[in-house]
């Protein structure tokens, strides 16, 4: 293998250090278009505060520019598009998940601190006993406003302008005051945004228009103000001081304010994961079943797929081509459709399959209520969904096996079964080994089938947190993350994802070592 690398590796002609002008133009124009598109995208991302994504996209774009403009890097241009997509669609989300695992992002901590403070500072309160007025708005030719305020309780009427002391008035609101004309209802609605933003009168008599109650104005005061030098939020109504504690403004007596905000919280999510009683409880059995589920799914689909592939590899097989195509159908139908259909077919009381089994054997297995039969049921569905994939791969791999080895085996007097076990299978494993590993990793996290079949059920009785007999790690942790009693806790869910990822990395590492071993052995065949 090692020597073959150099075969045909004729020395490439020396590359120019700069492209000729026309070639450069042909490269520069599309690149410029790309850069324009990216800059347009970046302006939007920066405005929305998505800085991390903006940085990732800029880095990828810069590298693309380098690769296409520097002749020394030109061999890279063939894989540059896939590298760029890999960076933006795979690497960035991985790091983003990793980062989220160290934050409290989730329900209750959705906003950034800046936005949370803005929202809190918008809140107003009415000091106790302060009178409430009905308002009528007026506007001048140069778009200045004034309010006619009337309080039935006080029997008082005022004219209030921004920045000027209020003036007492009497009677009904006139159509015009000092060149200001009264706004009609339609006009008033169009001016609400401006009216709400203004303060009418001068201290201490400052009136604001209510944002909630139609036609009401009063001496509303800003409730919270933020002191950035001390990182302190002051409640002016009650004189309380709130300090940010893990993304929530918290007073000394422990009372908190909504909304909270996003903040990095270090290893808290991982601590919570390691100390949750749910982990000490059914975790071990769930983990073992996950491995069993993934391994058996791969094994049975591989066995059936390979069996069918070998059968259909025999040229004498009648109707080879149409049957081969028909066998692909289970793979072509999405699991979202076929799993619910199977669930219906297997229903113990009304399902067709169960009814048939009951006629033949006297009783149908309790697919959904018995822990063992539920596991058998979900594996059977896995078999149905998965064997066509293995069948296709094995069919392709069989074509590439050398015919001379079989001739030699035949001359040596090996039976077809012997030839299968000693030649076909070991040779197939070279190409299929890595695919089996990938299939294992996929089934390790096969949320869809487990959730659609029986939502992880039947439930295990007497556990510390709700869990079912067919729950695998990913469905179980999904339950933990989203039924924590705090809504969606995305930071915690990300920490769980990272933990599952690490487990999977370890398992996959050993599996690849094993397939490498197979490969080395087969080189000696």
């Amino acid at each position: 293998m090692r020597t073959s690398l150099r075969v045909g590796g004729a020395k490439a002609p020396p590359r120019p250090s700069v492209y000729p002008p026309l070639a450069l133009l042909l490269r520069a124009v599309p690149l410029a278009l790309l850069d324009v598109g990216v800059i347009w995208l970046l302006s939007g991302l920066l405005r929305d505060g998505a800085y991390a994504l903006a940085i990732a996209i800029s880095v990828v774009t810069l590298l693309l520019n380098l690769i296409f403009l520097r002749p020394q890097l030109s061999p890279l241009q063939w894989i540059a598009p896939s590298l760029a997509l890999l960076g933006v669609l795979v690497v960035y989300p991985v790091f983003s998940t990793l980062y989220t695992a160290f934050t409290n992002y989730g329900d209750g901590h959705l906003l950034t601190k800046q936005v949370a403070i803005q929202q809190l500072e918008k809140q107003v309160y009415l000091p106790e006993g302060a009178p409430v007025f009905a308002w009528t708005a007026y506007v001048s030719a140069d778009n200045q406003y004034l309010l006619w305020l009337h309080s039935a309780d006080l029997g008082a009427t005022y004219i209030a302008r921004p920045g000027e002391a209020v003036v007492a008035a009497e009677g009904e609101p006139p159509p015009e005051i000092d060149g200001y004309r009264q706004l009609s209802k339609a006009e008033r609605l169009r001016h609400t945004q401006n009216l709400v933003a203004l303060e009418f009168g001068s201290p201490p008599d400052l009136f604001r228009v209510s944002e909630r109650q139609i036609g009401v104005a009063a001496q509303y005061q800003q409730r919270y103000s933020y002191d950035s030098s001390q990182d302190l939020l002051i409640d002016r109504a009650e004189g309380r001081h709130y300090r940010p504690v893990e993304g929530t403004f918290t007073a000394e007596d422990g009372s908190t304010l909504r909304p909270g905000f996003r903040v990095a919280i270090g290893l808290d999510n991982f601590n919570r994961l390691l100390t949750t009683p749910a982990l000490r409880g059914p975790f071990v059995s769930v983990f073992l079943w996950t491995i069993l589920f993934a391994a058996l799914s791969v094994l049975i689909t591989f066995a059936l797929g390979l069996f069918l592939a070998v059968m259909f590899d025999v040229p004498e097989m009648p109707l080879r081509r149409p049957l081969r195509s028909l066998l692909l159908i289970p793979y072509a139908i999405p699991a979202f459709i076929s799993v619910p259909i199977w669930v219906g077919l297997l229903n113990p009381q009304y399902g067709v399959v169960s009814g048939m089994l009951a006629d033949w054997f006297g009783a149908a297995p309790p697919w959904f209520s018995n822990p063992y039969w539920a596991k058998v049921g979900v594996l059977l569905i896995q078999l149905w969904l998965g064997f066509p994939y293995m069948f296709v791969i094995a069919t392709g791999a069989l074509q590439s096996l050398p015919a001379d080895v079989y001739e030699a085996a035949e001359i040596d007097g090996a039976s077809p079964v012997q030839a299968f076990w000693t030649i076909t299978l070991p040779l197939l494993m070279i190409t299929m080994g890595p695919l089996l590993v990938a299939s294992f990793a996929y089934n390790f996290n096969n949320f869809v089938v487990i959730d659609l079949f029986n939502k992880g059920g039947p439930p295990i009785s007497g556990t510390i947190s709700p869990v079912g007999h067919t729950d695998i790690l990913v469905t179980y942790t999904y339950r933990i993350a989203f039924s924590s009693g705090r809504g969606a806790d995305l930071g915690y869910a990300a920490a769980i994802t990272v933990a599952i990822f690490l487990i999977l990395v370890v398992i996959t590492y050993f599996q690849f070592r094993y397939t490498n071993m197979l490969e080395e052995r087969s080189e000696n065949v």
Partner: protein
């Protein structure tokens, strides 16, 4: 060659970037920023909620009111919007979205300053939306006393009102009047009736229920005096979990006896479709279901009637789900949104139009009391004393544990009292933050 490849590359890059912007939860979706040059973007970044400076008032540049609604409500609101614009010169833009998407999209678009002024939604979103600071408090205005009090109560969270309700929904007792002569008044009577019908061979299974769904079990639980969260003056109390209360255990024990006596088949994994198929074929005579199932029952041609859910030690109380209008806390013009809701939506005509577009019991009393469809009126009556489904975030800890316990009993794998006691412990542990 080069050009083609490059063009493809450019397209791919942009597509990839846009896709990833949508796919990654921490990033807000890329907005059309064509008309927003960099300086404007920076200014908006600094103070996105500041209204324009007062000097910049232009009389004939009115605001726009944006509403997010689902496809059945959107046409009605568009009509109302046209009237509103005709009367006040303020355009109303109705954006049609999937009902469930409204909540998720609001969480992204609201804080980014691109959200709507008004959304429609369900009352049990309140916990999530209010905790995230996405909703503004609301006033019902002059029509306040014309709303169903329970529906208004459902939209209250922590003592403040966040929604103007338009419809309610709840389950009721649906039976086949050719098989069942008198509706059982209590669940004990139902057991006796089931034994009678089954031994007489009228029907193989008299009462059928959805096995895995605690929502449909809740009215039975309340009939026996059980509850999920204790109700106080300020709403549900998450420290008072009632799954293992005396009444709840009595209800699950009744269910256990139904299985033991063979009136319900253990481990039969009956879901919504199977339950309905059995009822519509005449294989079952009684079930608990909601008004959303009316079209399919009618289509099947099976004789049916809708009644109140049987009680036991007290009247059964189903969960009440309430839909309504909410105002975004990130709306630029909340007073305008309030005015639209109080003056244009909280009216007889608007509420009638919303009812006609999708007949479910209205939350507006004059419309609710005038429902001509007797089945729908019966559903409304069955929910007259309904309890609003808890909207507090702690409810997320309840569904799985509670549902599992009901399933365990339905499968006859665990004793009823042990199942509910354990579920209550699981819920308390989850709420305590384990």
């Amino acid at each position: 060659m080069h050009n083609k490849r490059m063009l493809l590359l450019v397209l791919l890059m942009v597509a990839a970037a846009v896709l990833s912007a949508c796919a990654v939860p921490v990033a807000a979706p890329a907005a059309p920023a064509a008309e927003a040059p960099a300086e404007d973007a920076a200014a908006a970044e600094a103070a996105p909620t500041e209204p324009p400076a007062e000097e910049a008032v232009v009389l004939d540049a009115p605001n726009v009111l944006t509403i997010w609604a689902d496809n059945t409500r959107a046409p009605v609101l568009s009509d109302l919007g046209t009237q509103f614009e005709a009367e006040y010169g303020i355009p109303v833009v109705v954006v049609e979205k999937g009902f469930g998407d409204i909540r998720d999209d609001l969480k992204v678009a609201g804080p980014a300053g691109e959200g709507p002024d008004i959304v429609i939604g369900a009352h049990d979103w309140l916990g999530e939306l209010v905790e995230n600071g996405l909703l503004a408090e609301i006033e019902l205005g002059a029509a306040a006393d014309q709303f169903l009090p329970a529906a208004v109560q459902a939209f209250a969270y922590d003592g403040a009102l966040y929604g103007l309700p338009y419809a309610t929904e709840n389950v009721a007792f649906v039976y086949n009047p050719e098989l069942v002569e008198t509706v059982p008044a209590t669940w004990s009577e139902l057991t006796a009736l089931a034994a009678e019908l089954e031994s007489a061979g009228v029907v193989s299974q008299a009462f059928i229920r959805q096995e895995g769904d605690p929502y449909h079990f809740f009215p039975i639980q309340t009939a026996f005096g059980g509850y999920v969260f204790g109700l106080t003056e300020t709403g549900y109390d998450p420290s008072d979990v009632g799954i293992d209360s005396e009444g709840s255990i009595a209800a699950i024990t009744w269910l256990d006896e139904m299985y033991k006596a063979g009136h319900l088949k253990a481990g039969s994994a009956v879901d919504y479709d199977i339950m309905h198929a059995a009822f519509e074929n005449g294989d079952a005579a009684m079930m608990i279901t909601g008004p959303w199932a009316l079209p399919r029952i009618r289509e099947s041609g099976v004789p049916y009637a809708v009644a109140n859910i049987p009680g036991e030690v007290q009247e059964a109380q189903p969960f009440l789900g309430v839909q309504g209008f909410m105002i975004s806390a990130f709306s630029n013009d909340q007073l305008l949104a309030q005015t639209f809701l109080q003056e244009f939506v909280a009216t007889q005509e608007a509420m009638q139009a919303i009812f006609d577009a999708d007949p479910r019991p209205s939350a507006f009393l004059p419309v609710r009391e005038a429902i001509a469809d007797s089945d729908l009126a019966a559903f409304a009556a069955a929910g007259a004393n309904g309890l609003a489904m808890p909207a507090i975030p702690e409810m997320s800890a309840v569904w799985a544990a509670w549902g599992d316990a009901v399933v365990l009993v339905s499968q006859q794998s665990e004793a009823p009292d042990a199942a509910f006691s354990n579920a209550a412990e699981q819920i308390r542990a989850a709420i305590a933050g384990n």
